[in-house]
């Protein structure tokens, strides 16, 4: 038990924080119910995918500044393809957009490996490229989304045998998030590839000497990041029904949640669960501040302060642990 706590201490702490926040929300707004939770889950969806995209790359010892631009590009591509098209056509659009994210992510990795330019610079350049491509696809917010896609994340999941009161707390958006992440992450984590990703993030040289194909692993890590970002782009289109070519605040949010989620920026440490819980924490803080009728601008300050304080606290703890 103590071993588990030591290894997962950070995530457990985050969960505790999340529960405290939920209780605080109930105290602030006694009417906060399942419907509000559903809208929280819907709001979290694109953020969560952005964070997943960032997490994979950070664990592999890199960073991806192009996450938000990738989401914008995939979102406008999906929206412009589905505009005016039949419902069945969307069945083709979804895999196409996901494949596009995967390939573009792989391109990120390939450029880093081939040109040997630092990852920050490559993904920074790709940020401009992807943003430009998004503007070429759609120069203003527009497009459309298939009805069944929109329905996929609204409402709740009815589970037979459970009372409605419990069902109501299981929004579809949350289920979509859990399914999409688990289907990719759990097999990955248990595979050789997942181990390789952790290995190159922990020590590239040691991984290379142990026979890990460093270059291939790095490219795959970026490709997975692109895939998650494409999920995020789709989630954006699903929740708004359109595509917008200007990237949202997802880059900053993804980096913040990754750090808050206990993933070391040097790579090789942490998991996906922590950052996802961290996203919920950050969004719920925002909800609480809105419920308290605090000026949204002050909310931005408080969010920044929380982020900086948490990161400083985390760094302080690691420093104490090392001594």
């Amino acid at each position: 038990m103590s071993h588990f706590l030591r290894r997962q201490g950070w995530v457990v702490g985050l969960f505790a924080l999340l529960i405290v926040l939920f209780i605080a929300t109930r105290i602030i707004q006694p009417g906060y119910g399942s419907g509000d939770f559903g809208s929280l889950a819907r709001a979290v969806l694109p953020y969560a995918f952005a964070v997943a995209a960032q997490t994979v790359v950070v664990i592999a010892g890199g960073i991806d500044l192009s996450v938000a631009a990738m989401m914008a590009l995939t979102s406008v591509t999906a929206a412009s393809m589905m505009a005016g098209a039949s419902e069945e056509y969307a069945l083709f659009v979804v895999p196409f957009v996901l494949a596009m994210g995967f390939v573009l992510g792989a391109l990120n990795g390939l450029l880093i490996v081939v040109t040997r330019v630092p990852d920050i610079v490559v993904t920074l350049a790709m940020l401009f490229v992807l943003q430009g491509a998004a503007l070429l696809v759609l120069d203003a917010p527009g497009g459309g989304a298939a009805e069944w896609l929109k329905a996929l994340i609204s409402g709740t999941v009815p589970i037979p045998g459970l009372p409605d009161a419990v069902d109501a707390w299981l929004p579809k958006a949350l289920l979509v998030l859990i399914v999409c992440l688990c289907v990719i992450w759990i097999p990955l984590r248990r595979s050789r590839l997942g181990l390789s990703i952790y290995a190159i993030g922990s020590s590239e040289l040691a991984a290379f000497r142990s026979g890990v194909p460093v270059k291939r692993t790095r490219i795959i890590a970026y490709a997975l990041s692109g895939l998650f970002a494409a999920f995020g782009g789709l989630a954006l289109t699903m929740s708004t029904g359109i595509g917008a070519p200007i990237p949202g605040p997802y880059l900053l949010a993804s980096v913040a949640a990754v750090v808050l989620g206990g993933v070391a920026l040097g790579g090789g440490k942490g998991g996906l669960l922590g950052p996802i819980v961290a996203v919920f924490v950050l969004r719920l803080v925002r909800t609480d501040l809105t419920l308290l009728a605090i000026d949204p601008n002050v909310t931005a300050i408080i969010e920044g302060l929380i982020m900086v304080a948490v990161v400083m606290f985390g760094a302080f703890i690691t420093m104490r642990g090392r001594q």
Binding site: V117, P118, G132, L135, L252, A300, E303, V311
Partner: protein, 330 residues
């Protein structure tokens, strides 16, 4: 045969070695090539006025890129420069309305010093990753600025004449129009180059970036160096904001934000390693000039905004990769 023994080094290899020894040469060649392409596409565009304009727009970018250069030398990065510049510019423009210029200036520089101090303490004492720390403080800064904007909405804003003169004015000297901004930039650049190359502080920056552990073991107070560095970087960003408001003449809450990523790109193109320990400011200045000329070039080609951004990204990537190849071929 005896001639084979003294075969001269092939010409191509010699050029490469020459360029690797003087990394500034390929950058200057690239800059000249870009200007020549511009002249071919639009004959007659490269005139006195164009040069003055290019320099005017390159200077704010070059100073911000100087912040990036210095922080990158220690293995860090300062992404809060955009917010700091915007804050000082906005506060200056709104406070000058009913304050003494000197007091307005002090008020404008206050957030810069404060953010720099927080950055420095976070990175130096608490050992937070600079990327996160500076992103966080820039988030806080933007929030504060938005709250501040509410309080001054009634009083309005104006651009001080002196800043407009400094930002946009030109002074004809021996028949050539020199932008006044050079009055600020030349001493500043000289100071940065001198600090990096000749002073103890500059050497410490290189040392910290090259091998932090060794530096610490040699008795250097790491946190003092880092704190001084980030405060300097922030103050430079604040000064850039004042210059930039004189150039753009329209205070807004996202004034200098678009300069942040190009400033990183300029420092990288200029040959500063993002991992620390290698680089210099002269390369960065040329990098800023290259980016400014490139922006003009892409504007003149009359491409859609999207295609322009794509080309910008690709060229930054290509130049950096090519430059790394040349320099690492030793």
């Amino acid at each position: 045969m005896s001639t084979s023994a003294i075969t001269p080094v092939p010409f191509g290899r010699r050029i490469k070695r020459f360029m690797a020894d003087r990394p500034l040469v390929p950058l200057i060649i690239l800059l000249v090539i870009l200007v020549v392409i511009l002249q071919i596409l639009r004959p007659g565009i490269v005139n006195e006025r164009w040069i003055a304009n290019t320099i005017k727009f390159a200077i704010p970018l070059a100073i911000l890129a100087g912040c990036q250069t210095m922080t990158m030398l220690t293995g860090g990065i300062d992404l809060s420069v955009g917010t700091v510049a915007t804050m000082s510019a906005f506060i200056m423009a709104t406070q000058i309305v009913n304050q003494d210029p000197a007091i307005a200036f002090l008020l404008a520089m206050m957030p810069a010093v404060l953010i720099g101090l927080v950055n420095g303490i976070g990175v130096g004492v608490f050992r937070v990753h600079p990327l996160i720390m500076t992103l966080g403080t820039s988030l806080i800064g933007t929030g504060c600025l938005q709250v501040y904007q509410r309080t001054v909405i009634a009083s309005g804003a104006k651009i001080p004449d002196f800043l407009a003169w400094l930002g946009t004015g030109v002074t004809p000297i021996v028949g050539f129009a020199f932008p006044n901004a050079l009055l600020l930039f030349v001493p500043l650049a000289a100071l940065i180059v001198f600090t990096l190359a000749r002073t103890g502080f500059g050497r410490l920056l290189y040392a910290v970036g090259d091998n932090e552990r060794a530096t610490r073991l040699s008795g250097v107070q790491y946190w003092q160096v880092i704190t001084a560095l980030y405060v300097t970087s922030s103050v430079l960003a604040g000064i850039t904001g004042l210059l930039y408001i004189g150039l753009i003449k329209a205070p807004s809450l996202s004034l200098a934000e678009p300069l942040v990523l190009p400033s990183v790109a300029a420092a990288v193109i200029g040959g500063t390693s993002i991992f620390g320990g290698r680089g210099g400011y002269t390369g960065t200045i040329i990098g800023a000039l290259i980016l400014t000329v490139l922006t003009t070039l892409l504007t003149i080609l009359q491409m859609p905004e999207g295609a322009r951004r794509i080309l910008f990204g690709l060229i930054v990537l290509f130049v950096t990769a090519a430059y790394l190849r040349i320099v690492e071929e030793r």
